[in-house]
Symmetry: C2
């Protein structure tokens, strides 16, 4: 990958008429996330080869490409030439000559391992294989690979063409160069990467999300506030700040010139008391039903398409408004 | 309050020259939050009487008024006529004739109760007394009051002139009319209110914030990722969505047309597994030091004023970008 980045840089200075080779990405699996990745890579000017035998894959790809194109046109960063992803069911053909392989298969360890063996039979030896898995550890994924050192997790937020974040995590056998190449690859396409130094269930995003939702469930299901009001406590207060400052910096800044030390001196004990009193709900049948009913009430008759569109437009407006 | 709202409405239709009475708010305590409230009320065209004998109060008020004016000019909603808050140390004078009383004293129960007794000696009997307390329960605050039914918690996010959210919570003796008047009052000034049906330590915002930070502390202090990368997982992914959709709706929408039920069927068990694995750090000395060091590294030499300004400008840009 480093080599290709250098080629690209050299290409900028090459005399007109010298065509640099377009970088090539293989996307293995075209579910919602896979189609989103493929559309994103295509909109960034890469040659994208998608492997998926499912009859619905073409429609998902077309739909994702249309939305990704609109999104990147609005946000900036749409490549001058966008080629439609090539869709096929020949895995060997798709990955041979690839500069980057994005695996987006269902969350089944054995399925993924079986496909990795097929990928390694055709892909260049030093090509990074990036798994989008949110639930399986990289050390488990790479067990049994011929070149386990090139396996990394690269977990996006949904949809991958809109959200800036990609979480990068290697397993026990992952090489430093693979992590660095993956970071450079996504950053080169405008993504913001974060790196896990050690693997852990749920990486960062799903753990943080689960932690917030656990208390949100507790508060709503125990009748402290409605589902709508718990959500509003986030959108009208906390979320507006979290879009700008992370949870550590929020408290650091609330310590003023004294920073985190000042915050901990003044409020550390109060925070520990809150931690001790946080809820520990289970998702039993009654809790699930309460969440379903509470959410129906919060939606107040606004259907899925309307609310999903409001979310996407809201997030886009918010990303557009950010200083860069 | 209802009566005054009706007067105001009638005033709109009154012949020119008939002066409607400006509504009057007493703000008891001019620390950072008190000064912020006072500035907000003044910028909304209310007559504000602030009680604080501290020599630094005038400077804090002036500073807050300047920032509030700039903020509301940018966001929209600055009143045509903004009168400077009147600052004094005569509590009885400030609260007599008040339409709303905002108590913003230090978090000491006995101090607050003593001042409530003084307030009640001079304030109109049906005037709502709204406490900004984040840490004391309303039932404790109202114990011993002559008119406990009018005591509500109205807890803002900081700074009160910028953040839309106000949490409203009554205690055991609070009357329905007091909660409704408080809600109508803040909403009338453009705030978004959420209502707690039962009191609980930390209300909604501090509990949700503590829940997220607990996992953020666990991940950073145990070396899974740097403080900066944990924060980035929020700002570049989760926060951008939480500014638009609350935690319940995020998962509801990720269930597609099947909504919350579909999400729970597909991922409920995975979420429970994440919950079981969430960290339970303590804020012991080593943890505090790790957070202080990690935050210093994350700040990378950018000082408090620069980062606080970036936060405020970022939040403002983001609020401006919201569809309304």
């Amino acid at each position: 990958m480093e080599q290709h980045l250098q080629e690209a840089a050299a290409g900028d200075e090459a005399p007109a008429g010298v065509q640099e080779r377009r970088r090539r990405v293989a996307v293995v699996g075209a579910g919602v996330i896979g189609a989103g990745w493929a559309a994103f890579f295509a909109c960034k000017g890469l040659d994208v080869h998608v492997v998926d035998a499912h009859p619905g894959a073409r429609a998902r790809l077309d739909d994702a490409l249309q939305r990704a194109r609109r999104t990147l046109q609005a946000l900036g960063g749409l490549a001058a030439e966008v080629r439609e992803p090539v869709l096929g069911d020949d895995l060997g053909q798709a990955v041979s000559g690839a500069d980057h392989i994005q695996e987006v298969l269902p969350e089944q360890l054995e399925l993924k391992q079986r496909v990795y063996a097929q990928i390694e039979a055709s892909a260049p030896d030093r090509c990074v294989i990036a798994s989008s898995s949110s639930g399986i550890m990289p050390s488990a994924l790479q067990a049994g690979m011929r070149h386990p050192e090139r396996l990394v997790i690269a977990h996006p937020c949904n949809p991958p063409y809109l959200m800036p974040l990609v979480e990068i995590c290697g397993g026990r056998e992952t090489a430093g160069w693979a992590v660095e190449e993956a970071e450079a690859f996504y950053r080169g396409l405008g993504k913001r990467t974060v790196r896990l130094n050690r693997e852990i269930t749920g990486h960062l995003v799903n753990r943080l999300q689960a932690a917030l939702w656990r208390e949100a469930v507790y508060l709503a299901v125990n009748g402290y506030a409605s589902v709508a009001d718990v959500d509003r406590a986030v959108t009208e207060g906390l979320g507006a700040r979290w879009a700008v400052c992370g949870p550590h910096e929020i408290f650091d800044l609330s310590g003023g010139e004294l920073g985190m030390a000042g915050f901990l001196d003044k409020l550390g004990d109060a925070v520990e008391a809150w931690w001790a009193s946080l809820g520990q709900p289970r998702l039993d049948a009654a809790t699930r039903q309460a969440l379903i009913d509470g959410m129906a009430q919060a939606a107040a008759g606004r259907g899925y398409p309307q609310r999903a569109q409001a979310r996407d437009e809201g997030v886009m407006a918010q990303l557009l408004a950010r200083p860069n």
